[in-house]
């Protein structure tokens, strides 16, 4: 079920009523929310509900087994088995086809026949997200950071519908305690939630849809024939599209959770204002960044094994992070590129200039350089093949004599406007929310309806799936 649909609106009204009516009956409330979340998930494909149940069962069984094991070594082994078992469905659904094609082609180039069946495995929506949350749960129990939850808490933690299909990746200690407590039905932050939901809808349905259709899809579809301005604004446009699409989704998810009395962690913090690549990863998909740090980089040894080992760990983490986004060499290269940038940044911090210049021009230069580097990475992230990516980058140099087809004043204004919003004072949004919260329910509802109408009118008909659904 997509958030910006009539189906979801009806679903949410029913869930909202049930949620607050059962708020005082913890057990019944949990079962109700599990059922609602499974209905939400089954809307795509009911068969994959069994997968969600299976992953939840594996996570809970693994966590119990880890908690009950006394010896440290045995705990490590049990934890390893549980994490491997959780990774197996993800590996099969996400990487089988990629592996099968590459093995077949390598063998074929050697003159050998491959017997690997070439089947296309349908990727269950959200599998990457709930698998990572399941791993976080088991590993936190292993580390002693979190006690084993009850079966219902564990199942609800993994299936809770606001985060289910595209995050944010919520940690057990952030959500499970909230599941155990009674929500305060007297104090719902409706203005904050409405701001997030409407802002998310605007980013997704207007900005992302417009730029994708107007410039990004045409430019990435046929980069070799495009002019340099087309290529440049196609890349800049995609930087905005991926941000508007994904942050739009998580804003809606966080807003919906807020209406139900839950607090989710932030996932984006003005990423294009980052002044270094390290800063960028503190601001972009923050819940994934910290997951990669806590459950991959640190277990690999983090920075404890010396300088060289640290660089290797960063590279491994980022390459696997890239592969998490999709089973393609372009994602591997994107991950390696960011790993390389982070490594270079770290090396420079250790061996480069000791004094940090902080004049406004230096900050501007650092921000511009970081944004440019991030945009180069987005080319590999978006391109359907390496050839497409390199063809587009080539056109930035060779395409200045070709007339532009897709750069319109509105495209330029939209891109610049969205970038400028990253620097907009927070106070403005807070002031608006504060004003909204002072309205009575009926006027507030009418204001929100008019805002929704404007978003729907400005956006194209139909709703394209969110980009991060495929991850």
């Amino acid at each position: 079920m997509l958030f910006p649909t009539v189906d979801f609106a009806i679903f949410f009204v029913l869930v909202f009523v049930g949620h607050w009516l059962l708020n005082h009956q913890s057990h019944a409330w949990k079962w109700f929310m599990i059922a609602a979340s499974y209905v939400f998930y089954a809307w795509w494909n009911w068969r994959f509900v069994f997968l969600l149940v299976g992953v939840s069962f594996l996570a809970q069984t693994g966590a119990i087994a880890v908690a009950r094991t006394r010896s440290l070594r045995a705990r490590l082994i049990v934890n390893g088995i549980a994490v491997t078992a959780l990774l197996l469905p993800l590996a099969f659904f996400k990487y089988y086809g990629f592996l099968a094609v590459n093995v077949t082609n390598v063998l074929s180039s050697l003159g050998l026949e491959s017997s690997i069946p070439l089947i296309q495995v349908v990727l269950p929506v959200g599998i990457s997200f709930f698998t990572f949350m399941a791993i976080a749960y088991v590993v936190d129990v292993y580390r002693g950071d979190f006690e084993v939850a009850s079966w219902t808490d564990a199942f609800l933690y993994l299936s809770f519908f606001p985060h289910l299909v595209a995050g944010p990746i919520v940690r057990p200690n952030e959500l499970i305690p909230q599941l155990r407590e009674r929500r305060d039905e007297r104090h719902v932050d409706v203005a904050g939630a409405a701001w997030l939901i409407l802002g998310g809808l605007f980013k997704k349905m207007v900005v992302s849809s417009y730029l994708a259709a107007q410039i990004v899809d045409p430019v990435f579809g046929d980069p070799a024939q495009r002019s340099a301005p087309d290529a440049l604004f196609g890349i800049l446009g995609y930087a905005i599209v991926i941000y508007a699409d994904f942050s739009g989704y998580t804003d809606i998810a966080i807003g919906i959770a807020k209406l139900l009395g839950f607090q989710f962690p932030r996932n984006f913090d003005r990423p294009y204002t980052a002044s270094s690549i390290q800063d960028f990863w503190r601001r972009w998909h923050m819940t994934l960044s910290r997951w990669l740090r806590d459950y991959l980089y640190i277990p690999l040894g983090g920075n404890r094994g010396g300088e060289r080992r640290t660089y290797v760990n960063i590279l491994i983490t980022m390459i696997l992070g890239g592969l998490w986004h999709g089973a393609a060499w372009t994602f591997v290269l994107w991950g390696a590129y960011h790993g390389g940038l982070l490594t270079a940044h770290r090396w420079r911090a250790r061996h480069g200039a000791k004094e940090t210049r902080e004049g406004w021009l230096d900050v501007l230069r650092q921000r511009a350089a970081t944004f440019a580097l991030v945009c180069v990475g987005w080319v590999f992230f978006r391109a359907d093949s390496m050839e497409t990516a390199f063809a587009l980058l080539r056109r930035l140099i060779t395409g200045w004599w070709t007339p532009s087809e897709s750069v319109t004043p509105l495209v330029v204004v939209t891109i610049i406007g969205m970038l400028a919003l990253q620097f907009w004072p927070r106070g403005f949004g807070l002031w608006l929310q504060s004003g909204l919260s002072r309205l009575k329910p009926a006027p507030l509802g009418i204001v929100l309806a008019l805002a929704m109408l404007l978003i729907v009118i400005l956006g194209p008909s139909g709703v394209a799936p969110f980009i991060y659904f495929q991850f």
Binding site: D189, V206, S385, P441, A442, L458, P460
Partner: protein, 364 residues
């Protein structure tokens, strides 16, 4: 009597150590009132947007969902009309540059955005397409020059939309101008929703294509309606195939009316076996209709992209290399798939209509 005020929350996030300004505090609401906000929002939005919602419901496939939607939306739309909200919504739509009821967004290129070919570039009607007035090679597509590029229109549903994007990778832009005219969720079954014959006329009149590539039919697994929404032939009955064939022939006739050649691409095999029988029957109709005119060739996408034993495969063997060409939905192609599809269609146009091989590239 004044109501008790709920405590305030929502201090703006600030860096640690800084104080939150009180003027931005948000007032919180009890859940019951939030429900009123949600219901008022949805009701007001439904009233404001009722005509468009009703139109979308009318366009959806016939079935229980459509019936229920229309049963709910018709009275709401009438109420909206009666109290004038319909007009208010229409004014807002017009103010942002969008006509009510028209698919597409205010800023998204509208579907009728068909490129206009200047008169001096057009071919005299009915001359077979040589453009220079000669009729010696009336059965062939004219040889393009950089001054007078070949015009290729790609029309149809979402498959054609994808094909249109990636055909630009295949056809060389210095010799060929590609106009992608794919419209998602369209077909020949529901002219009440999208009128393809009318649109085809406009494409032919404005763009005057030399080659038209048609790929549609995946949305036609339903009863046929006329432009007023009245049912013409129920799906699964003996009336459906001849009525559908008439519509296909009409499209072909319009497409070729100014001398263009047509490659009609059949439906590719899909992963969903429930669609296969019907798709096969549609392909038989396409192939039969194409056989009637010398100006139309049928491209068999089914056989071209199936596995050797006849079933569905998402992969394509190109020499020694295996390539994933289909999307996970088991119907659409991915970027490389559409590129291969465009190239294969171009090759057929070379065989059937003498399309110059220098107008496209064969390497993927």
């Amino acid at each position: 009597m004044s109501q008790p005020r709920a405590p305030e929350e929502g201090k703006p996030e600030r860096q640690a150590g800084s104080a939150a300004p009180v003027q931005y505090a948000r007032r919180l609401m009890p859940a019951g009132r939030v429900l009123i906000v949600i219901l008022v929002t949805l009701l007001a939005w439904t009233l404001l947007y009722a005509p468009t919602l009703k139109r979308a419901a009318e366009a959806s496939p016939i079935g229980a969902r459509r019936t229920v939607s229309l049963a709910l939306l018709r009275p709401i739309s009438a109420v909206s009309d009666w109290i004038g909200l319909n007009e208010l919504a229409g004014s807002i739509e017009r103010a942002v540059g969008r006509d009510q009821g028209r698919p597409g967004g205010a800023f998204v290129p509208p579907p009728e955005d068909i490129p206009l070919t200047p008169e001096e570039e057009e071919d005299p009607p009915g001359n077979g397409g040589n453009g220079d007035g000669s009729t010696a090679e009336a059965d062939s597509i004219r040889a393009p020059t950089t001054e007078r590029k070949l015009r290729v229109a790609i029309v149809g549903d979402s498959l054609a939309a994808g094909l249109g994007y990636f055909a630009e990778r295949v056809f060389l832009p210095r010799l060929v101008r590609v106009s992608g005219q794919g419209r998602i969720s369209t077909g020949l079954a529901r002219p009440d929703y999208f009128n393809w014959p009318y649109t085809m006329h406009r494409i032919v009149d404005r763009f005057d294509p030399d080659l038209v590539i048609v790929m549609l039919g995946e949305n036609d697994h339903q009863s046929l309606q006329d432009v007023h929404g009245e049912r013409e032939a129920r799906i699964g009955t003996s009336e459906w195939p001849p009525a559908y064939r008439e519509r296909v022939l009409r499209m072909m006739q319009i497409a070729t009316s100014r001398g263009a050649k047509v490659v009609w691409a059949g439906l590719p095999i899909s992963a969903d076996f429930r669609l296969r029988d019907h798709s096969k029957r549609q392909n038989e109709i396409f192939e039969f209709a194409a056989g009637i005119s010398n100006d139309v060739a049928y491209f068999d996408a089914w056989d071209r992209f199936r596995e050797p034993r006849g079933g569905y495969t998402a992969y394509f063997r190109e020499g020694k290399r295996v390539i994933l060409i289909r999307e996970g939905d088991g119907l659409h192609f991915n970027a490389i798939g559409y590129t291969i599809l465009a190239r294969e269609i171009a090759k057929l146009a070379v065989e059937e209509f003498g399309l110059s091989p220098r107008t496209f590239q064969t390497a993927i």
